[in-house]
Symmetry: C2
Subunit: 423 residues, 2 copies
Amino acid sequence: KNPTSKLRSFCPFTILYFCVLIESSLLQGWVRSVRPQKNNIFLHVNDGSSLQSLQIVADAKLNDPLLTFGSAVEVSGILKKSLHQKQPVELEAEQIRVVGECNPVNFPFKIKERHSLEYIRQLPHLRCRTNAFSSLLRIRSEATAAIHSYFKNNGFVQIHTPIITSNDCEGAGELFQLEPSGPAFVDDDNFFSVPAFLTVSGQLHLEVMSGAFSRVYTFGPTFRAENSQSRRHLAEFFMVEAEISFTESLEDLTKVMEDVFRSATERVLARCAEDVDLFHRHVTPGHRWGCDLMTEHEKYLVKHCGSVPVFVTDYPYDLKPFYARDNQDHPKHTAAAVDLLVPGVGELCGGSLREERLNLLMARLKRVGLEDTYNWYLDLRRFGSVPHGGFGLGFERYLQCVLGVDNIKDVIPFPRFSHSCLL
Amino acid sequence: KNPTSKLRSFCPFTILYFCVLIESSLLQGWVRSVRPQKNNIFLHVNDGSSLQSLQIVADAKLNDPLLTFGSAVEVSGILKKSLHQKQPVELEAEQIRVVGECNPVNFPFKIKERHSLEYIRQLPHLRCRTNAFSSLLRIRSEATAAIHSYFKNNGFVQIHTPIITSNDCEGAGELFQLEPSGPAFVDDDNFFSVPAFLTVSGQLHLEVMSGAFSRVYTFGPTFRAENSQSRRHLAEFFMVEAEISFTESLEDLTKVMEDVFRSATERVLARCAEDVDLFHRHVTPGHRWGCDLMTEHEKYLVKHCGSVPVFVTDYPYDLKPFYARDNQDHPKHTAAAVDLLVPGVGELCGGSLREERLNLLMARLKRVGLEDTYNWYLDLRRFGSVPHGGFGLGFERYLQCVLGVDNIKDVIPFPRFSHSCLL
């Protein structure tokens, strides 16, 4: 009954295999080009499984004015070895059905035009239909899976840290506050009985788990109400955060940071080679390492080290949040914190050993008047405290770094920033 | 330099292997029991990698008043075959170091007491230190990985749908609205220039992607400002949502729902057997299929079918949201929607074919006055529309169903609900 059940999605390799087993193939996808000739018509149809489209050859009598760039089609026919070198196989069409029309006059993308990232960014509901953005989404999906695999293979337990929180974590940055909306709450806008915010980091919640697990991580959205429309800021962005118990050295952390980066990148380059290549060749061909908007110091450091990723460790104690571990190296007085700076992007990761010593932590919280607020956090040090540390990695910045994408808005499906929340 | 680098985490199986290679082992974890005898002292130490603790045998002179239930320790020694049947191996301690004390008088969990789920729920920063909740977190992590694997292995692209949205999706349920907080926004609380809410579903954003990919999914938090403290409701909960292009029958959807459920459950039962067993034997031993708080109709249906999961399809058209596909079966008039009801939990999944026909969708949106609001959604039907459908699965309800847990607050790390947002 359902014609799609036979061969659901197309990819060049699976079709090669199927064509040995079955005579007739069904391809479902979107038309990327139409080339009518005297006796034949040539189509390229893409189903989103890869950058590659499949070439369709049909008798001219199967042509249809509705067969336009962007239209959705179902094509049944015989898959054959192609006579042209450009593709290994092509589909000789027996039937072509246009299931969704696409008026080329109104469709905001034009055939054979390469639209700029700025232009397609204005069309969040349609930009996945461009080669560049569908490649980005496949890469993002693969990188996400690779990061989960890394942590799973290395004994980390994944924790779903909450989005809504009554902490403001570091007291740093601007927060989004929540209010219930709707008629049920006209007289009662204190839904949670306490002020509630969108999380800026899952770190403190991961530290809770560091009292029972040796290695935990989280990978999810975090938020900053930063009033900036720069190419480096989003109001909603994804962070990978990890926390490791029974560790007493920053090298344990930098090793994990480096391993995550390496293993994710190796897998992305291996499994999304064509998609990554599209970015490197066409989308961001003018990308140079070390471009302009990062802070001068970060720029200097990365350049000084030969435009390679650089770890910077042991920051001045007073610059770091209350949870950073005191190195007790007076008179210098530093905290055991580390940042990973990468060319073109700046800070990719930030981490620290956490102050596990109750007396030192309590004294510091007292000095800043947060002793009561973080009494629950002090409990973690009262009951079976362990030396531990962790870090966060900005997932969009990671993608920018690997793909050489200048604007962070071009590596996330639905960017949210100051004065923009489309869809 | 760092003693932990040799053997980082303990699990009964890896230690068995290591003990052939190295003479001395290092175990780091938390004390679950202390049993001093005349010549020896016996400890059980758990590192969170499994429900099992490792038995430590030490000379009585290694005893220390700080070796208490809940304290964190590092034990080095020789791993040996145990003489007792209860465990295959035990660690003969050479050195025991208490790295984090735990005063048993103040520690809210008591040795050998089985605390109720209600009690440990009051202690969100410490409850992972109980057997029950650390088992739950391992199961939740494994189930999450299993769900991602299922979709990846079946050709789905993962999309990070946004948390912040200017849609209110179905217009159903109460929403959380966002305002920036902090001094920078005293005079300007319109951060996004439009009202912005926490998402209730990623469906519409997935439908955007259904115009370029054959199969997409998302797995993340969703929100409802429901003023309820019942055992069935959370303000923040996790949903698995999938959208499939080029599908024209509900059976295509029910097949995926069933496959996700089966493959995740098989893997959880295989890889977390001990943890699941703990729930079935001790934590929820009184759990019966078909308990009381679900709606009467759902109860009846599930019971009528022999207390097995039940798909209910083709609901009255007027009860379903605007995007549900019209079955055009006048005079009955139903929509192609489907719910999966499971014993004890009620609705686990809800899905539908989506109205892909521009004229029908436009007419319906006009009738409810949403034509302008959803003009972007109509664009998806104007340009290369395809027959498609999708569903959402409540991840906490899934865990409740598999583990027989009565209260949804007991299957999420940090539950948020009316008048409660701890940490």
